[in-house]
């Protein structure tokens, strides 16, 4: 056969894959090419990869300690060659705090995504497929959660559970699943009466199997997109809780808390609040661009060609 003469690209794009792996890789490659065709999305991905790298290599990258400052000589210094982004009121290097803070930001994002997305997916697909009273009960619960403003509900949770980064994460996760449930349900309703789901039913598959193996995979891509777009909001909520003193506690270098402490000097020492503000802005933007790109790349309706 001509397998040996085929380039890797031809192997991926072939119309006649020879194995499960090849079919799956080929599909992934097509999605990847669609994604990379969008310049902004690639920039977004770059920002997120940079965030990951910075968080992973924080001890190597940070020029100073994020917790211990030089209170005597280095309080509220403007950006200079020793302190690239200046120092805060405790004499700590802001750049180092930002670098370590990226770990907290990532922790919040990942945990919220891991908790909220599956809850939403499960509730939404179950409600959408089952219909009837199960649907009514699950969706009313969702509506109750949706009716509260996110930050207010999170505040109430934190007030009850006590301040701290873990509780903030739980609070944000518990308040952010309802939109995912709504999306998953809407998506489920569009496919539940389709012939291909009927066909699986005719194979004798149980409702559980249909939801888990046939409907969920169809909902996941729009959910990924939505979660990515929500990341920016999650970062902001976490920062907001930090800003209000209910999230990460001092001396943790959480970006929101950093802005809060920099607020007092905002007129004279603007860089103290501006640097974490810019960091939040850039990472939020990164997630938004990535989400937009994923939406186009994962869209099955335009897929195929």
């Amino acid at each position: 056969m001509s397998d040996t003469t085929m380039t890797r690209r031809e192997w991926l794009l072939t119309d006649r894959p020879q194995s499960r792996t090849q079919a799956r890789l080929g599909r992934a490659y097509v999605t990847w090419r669609r994604f990379t065709a969008n310049r902004l999305a690639v920039i977004g991905l770059g920002i997120i990869l940079l965030l990951l790298f910075v968080a992973a290599a924080a001890p190597l990258l940070a020029p100073h300690s994020p917790y211990i400052g030089d209170l005597r000589n280095a309080r509220l210094l403007p950006p200079s060659s020793t302190y690239w982004l200046g120092t805060d009121d405790q004499g700590r290097d802001i750049l180092s705090r930002l670098i370590y803070g990226s770990r907290l930001t990532l922790q919040v994002i990942v945990l919220v995504a891991i908790i909220a997305a599956p809850i939403g997916l499960l509730v939404g697909t179950a409600a959408g497929y089952a219909g009837g009273w199960i649907d009514a009960v699950l969706m009313r619960i969702t509506d109750i959660f949706l009716a509260f403003p996110k930050l207010v509900l999170a505040l109430a949770f934190v007030a009850a559970l006590g301040p701290g980064i873990e509780n903030a994460i739980i609070a944000i996760a518990l308040t952010s699943w309802p939109p995912y449930a709504r999306i998953a349900r809407a998506e489920t309703l569009t496919v539940r009466n389709s012939d291909y789901i009927s066909a699986v039913k005719l194979m004798g598959a149980s409702p559980m199997r249909i939801v888990l193996r046939h409907i969920m995979p169809l909902c996941i891509s729009s959910l990924i997109v939505r979660v990515t777009l929500d990341m920016a909001g999650i970062i902001l909520t976490a920062a907001g809780l930090g800003f209000l003193g209910l999230g990460a506690q001092p001396p943790l270098p959480e970006w929101g808390a950093m802005i809060a402490s920099g607020r007092r000097f905002i007129l004279d020492q603007w860089w103290v609040a501006a640097a974490p503000g810019a960091a939040i802005l850039i990472v939020s933007l990164g997630f938004n661009l990535l989400g937009d790109g994923l939406r186009d790349a994962l869209d099955t309706r335009s897929g195929g060609q």
């Binding site: 006649r16 499960r20 079919a23 012939d195 009927s198 005719l202 004798g204 099955t300």
Partner: protein, 249 residues
């Protein structure tokens, strides 16, 4: 011999719309029975009711002498399978052919899946080159072949065919009809086929029922259409219409 399928006064009601009004029919084992009618005649509803996809609100359905209840068990689906009209809508958009064919085997706990998938693809004339393709990489005719392979892989004795070729080009339709006839002969299957096309129905079925508005209009032998031995005006109109356009003089 117990009939393969026996339906008595079957009634299907959606909200307050009666889609099927007390229709009865009996299909012998190995027979091919046709349902003809225009949209809204209830012909597809009848098939779906047998398959358990439409709400039955009256009447009974017996498959090989066994009365069917509200829900269908796994054993039922080993006996009765269905091929849908739109080959573009009946295959899961995110699954390869391999996965589509593996699913029924997996559900029913078959062990020799590799061999069965291979054989199913060969039987419908697709070969292994198509095994790991996604449905969007297939043409309409190829998709319908996959759908037939999926329906046959559980070795049912009754195949419900809901306009299996109406979305296909004429040349592909001929190939798929030939394939269906061949598998029916090889496996001694019972067919219940729905179509709006009188030509297709007379080609495929020995007996047929003409339906309109959820009711039976009349019952015919395939030969009756050729000899115009029909009693009802409605059927006669369908026959005339199927011959194409006639310009008024």
């Amino acid at each position: 011999m117990t009939p393969a399928l026996s339906i008595d006064k079957l009634r299907v009601v959606y909200d307050d719309f009666i889609a099927l009004k007390d229709v009865s029919l009996t299909v012998a084992q190995g027979e091919s029975f046709g349902l003809v009618g225009e949209s809204g005649s209830g012909k597809s509803t009848l098939l779906r009711a047998v398959a358990g996809l439409a709400p039955v609100s009256g009447g009974t359905i017996d498959v090989s002498g066994q009365r069917l209840g509200k829900s269908r068990d796994k054993a039922f689906y080993r006996q009765v399978q269905m091929v849908f009209q739109d080959p573009y809508g009946s295959l899961h958009p995110r699954q390869t052919v391999d996965r589509l064919l593996l699913e029924p085997l997996d559900i029913h706990g078959f062990a020799d899946t590799e061999k069965r998938i291979q054989r199913a693809l060969d039987e419908v004339g697709l070969g292994s080159g198509f095994r790991f393709r996604y449905s969007h990489q297939l043409s309409g005719g190829q998709r319908q072949r996959v759908a037939i392979a999926r329906a046959l892989i559980l070795e049912p004795s009754i195949l419900l065919l809901d306009e299996p070729t109406s979305a296909l080009d004429a040349s592909v339709q001929a190939e798929v009809l030939n394939l269906l006839e061949q598998v029916r002969r090889d496996r001694k299957l019972t067919f219940v086929m729905v179509s709006h096309d009188l030509g297709v129905i007379t080609h495929m079925c020995e007996r047929l029922m003409v339906m309109q508005g959820g009711e039976e209009i009349e019952r015919l032998e395939a030969g009756d259409l050729a000899t115009r031995n029909v009693a009802q005006d409605y059927t006669r109109n369908l026959l005339v219409a199927s011959e194409g356009f006639v310009r008024d003089a």
